[in-house]
């Protein structure tokens, strides 16, 4: 067991923070969020040059060969600086599915443009209902159905759509944005990210649109979604941590009744609880990150546990941060509101807190699992 960053990981963290501090302050966030593109193409090119867009891909595929810990380090930085570029959507979800399911030829054709920053993916997958179906046709497949809030869909040039096949199993399809029968209704999200509601009416696709020719992609999709939740949890930890520090700093400078309000014990105790919530969130995000290679049940315990615990921590921290800032905390003058929105989005995306709590609770209701600690034998 080792839970310390190694030297290279510490360098990645420090250099990512330094780059984002220089290029992504609150003003930049607001400008990018208000732009038509919904992202900064210049910064995306820089992300490519920094190697970030190839970070999780294997060296055989031309990537950096980083693991979930490296991904989490970067994501925590994105949360800390309110980065809204579609890293999760394109690199982790899209790239993750292509890595897991794609043939060698597909991986080469699809991943290289992603790593170079030339191609953006969005992934349409609904964990809860099979909202899109794929029927076999003489030429390939026809996709029909609808799904909501597909992250980064307005930005992407290609979509990866999960659909239920004739036998009830899952396949992932590469769908060009220009496909006939596909309609997108773009929407802005509270945190500046873009998404779209998708409708597919008999979208005709060739047989090779099925990624990897794989007609049993459910397991791979589930593990990519869990990876995305772990990564988004690290993002939330970055946002939580920033809100806690901002609150402590603010109360040290805000003077009322002739003294900094940080001197008041009632406020001190609430801020200690915020820091405790931050530490708990950080610990759980790391647990989820390190459990991604475990068997599905153990992975689900860590990932759903993280989403549930960090969701609660996030709610408590954003509410308390606003309260302790007083009236100014309710405005857009400070970045506080933007962090609150990012954390609200975290809570609701990829299954809300209560849903993960139920999933986690059902797993832990087995006394054997409840008794099981976090340190387990090497697989």
């Amino acid at each position: 067991m080792n839970l310390q960053y190694d030297t290279e990981q510490a360098i990645l963290r420090d250099s990512a923070h330094a780059f984002l501090r220089d290029h992504y302050d609150y003003k930049a966030h607001r400008r990018i969020a208000a732009s038509d593109a919904g992202m900064s193409p210049e910064l995306w090119r820089e992300f490519a040059q920094l190697g970030w867009l190839g970070l999780p891909f294997s060296t055989e595929d031309g990537g950096v060969g980083g693991g979930p810990v490296e991904t989490a380090i970067l994501m925590e930085g994105f949360g800390r600086f309110l980065v809204i570029e579609p890293y999760l959507e394109t690199v982790l979800l899209g790239g993750g599915l292509i890595s897991a399911l794609g043939t060698a030829a597909e991986r080469k054709a699809l991943l290289e443009p992603v790593m170079e920053g030339k191609s953006l993916f969005a992934v349409a997958h609904d964990d809860r209902t099979a909202s899109i179906t794929a029927t076999s046709t003489s030429r390939g497949f026809a996709l029909s159905g609808a799904t909501k809030l597909v992250l980064a869909a307005p930005l992407a040039d290609q979509l990866l759509v999960s659909a239920e096949l004739d036998g009830g199993r899952l396949g992932v399809f590469i769908v060009p944005k220009t496909a006939s029968g596909l309609t997108l209704r773009p929407v802005r999200l509270i945190d500046g990210r873009r998404a779209a509601d998708l409708e597919l009416t008999v979208v005709e696709l060739p047989a090779n649109a099925l990624l990897g020719g794989n007609d049993n992609a459910g397991t791979a999709v589930a593990s990519v979604i869990d990876l995305a939740i772990a990564a988004l949890s690290a993002d939330a930890v970055g946002a939580i941590s920033t809100m806690v520090s901002a609150t402590v700093d603010y109360t040290k400078t805000r003077v009322q009744f002739g003294q900094p309000i940080a001197k008041f014990q009632a406020l001190q105790h609430r801020m200690v609880r915020m820091r405790v919530a931050e530490e708990e969130a950080r610990a759980f995000a790391l647990f989820a990150t390190l459990a991604l290679d475990r068997p599905p049940d153990q992975r689900a315990r860590a990932v759903s546990g993280a989403k549930a615990k960090i969701g609660r921590s996030a709610r408590f921290v954003h509410q308390t941060a606003i309260q302790l800032h007083g009236a100014i905390g309710t405005t857009d003058e400070l970045s506080l509101g933007a962090y609150a929105k990012r954390l609200l989005a975290y809570e609701a995306l990829f299954g809300p807190t209560r849903e993960h709590l139920r999933r986690y609770g059902a797993l832990m209701a087995k006394p054997d699992r409840a008794a099981e600690g976090l340190l387990t034998a090497m697989a």
């Binding site: 001190q268 610990a283 647990f287 315990r301 709590l357 600690g373």
Partner: protein, 394 residues
Amino acid sequence: MDISLTAEDQAFRNEVRSFLDHNVPPAMRRAGELTTGFIVDPEISIALHRALAQQGWSVPNWPVEHGGTGWTPVQRYIYEIECARAGAASYNNAGAQFVGPVIIRFGTQAQKDKYLPRIRSGEDHWAQGYSEPGSGSDLASLKTRAESDGDDYTVNGQKIWTTHAHKSNRIFALVRTSSEGKRQEGITFLLIDLDTPGITIRPIIGNGGDHEFNEVFFDNVRVPKENRVGEENKGWDVAKYLLEFERGGSVQAGRVRAQFARLAKLIATRCPDDPEMAIRFAELGTDIDAMEMIDLSVLSAHQTGANPGPISSLLKLRWSEIRQVVSELAVDAAGPDALRWVDERPLYEALQLPPEEEENLSLIPRYLNGRAFTIMGGTTEVQTNILAKSLLGL
């Protein structure tokens, strides 16, 4: 980074597991489950302590030259987890946990020769004489006096909340030897035999029905000066050293997990379809996982020689609250069945009932006794003050 056991640690775990399988009899397991206070009586635990002593494991945290095991932090953690898993009940181990390390750090050679072997073997049981009626959170205000009289001190005063004093033969105590200067600079650390004339022990029965706490009265008690640990008036430094072990030194995750698993069973039999209980149970589970992960981070920092910093003070704060929630949910899951009461203690001696009925009788006592978790060893409020300074720089 990884969160898995190496092959060596796995082999160690198997060794510990098989040792405990042989040395934790079902009677001890049952006693642990029906003990509603914090620790089982020495009559229950002594056999295990002796077996541990024979194995060379009775004082794992001590330096190897004094009988410690030299285990890595991860191995110590595994040991604690396995003890809880095997149902090895917690017992008063203040000798091994607290006063032993203090004697090793500050004691004379004569003190080491006299006391350390008897702690290792389990012959001596130690109580802790810190709190007084007027000195709880504000410990430095303590008033029990030790007057110098030749080769002895004469001790007068009163200690309170003394866990298992009635089951102990020795006590380590903080006493006032000077009223000059800063309050902390007039305190001395003494080792006192509890059979010394002038000592009276009076029980305090908790509202959970258990006798764990006591008042200890000192009436002209003569204590040889050779029983002083460290210099006169330097006892506060000794106490602070000891407090580090009390707050951060013990692993909670194992015990809490064992209780959490029993809670899972309780809910499954008493209220399996109650959605609100399911949610509260799940929230509690995520709290436990988060804290165990923080435990492991602290451990990992120790392992690489890094300083985990003030995070370790957070452990006491949260674990004590979590333990209370476990007992609270158990009471709620049982509903009115938890209202059944008997006066006799310990329950494992008083009762011979079907397991479910015995469990009913333990729930409210355990819940009520557990209210002390957030009070003893530094209240939650005091811990929060400490964290405001150390964690937030306020």
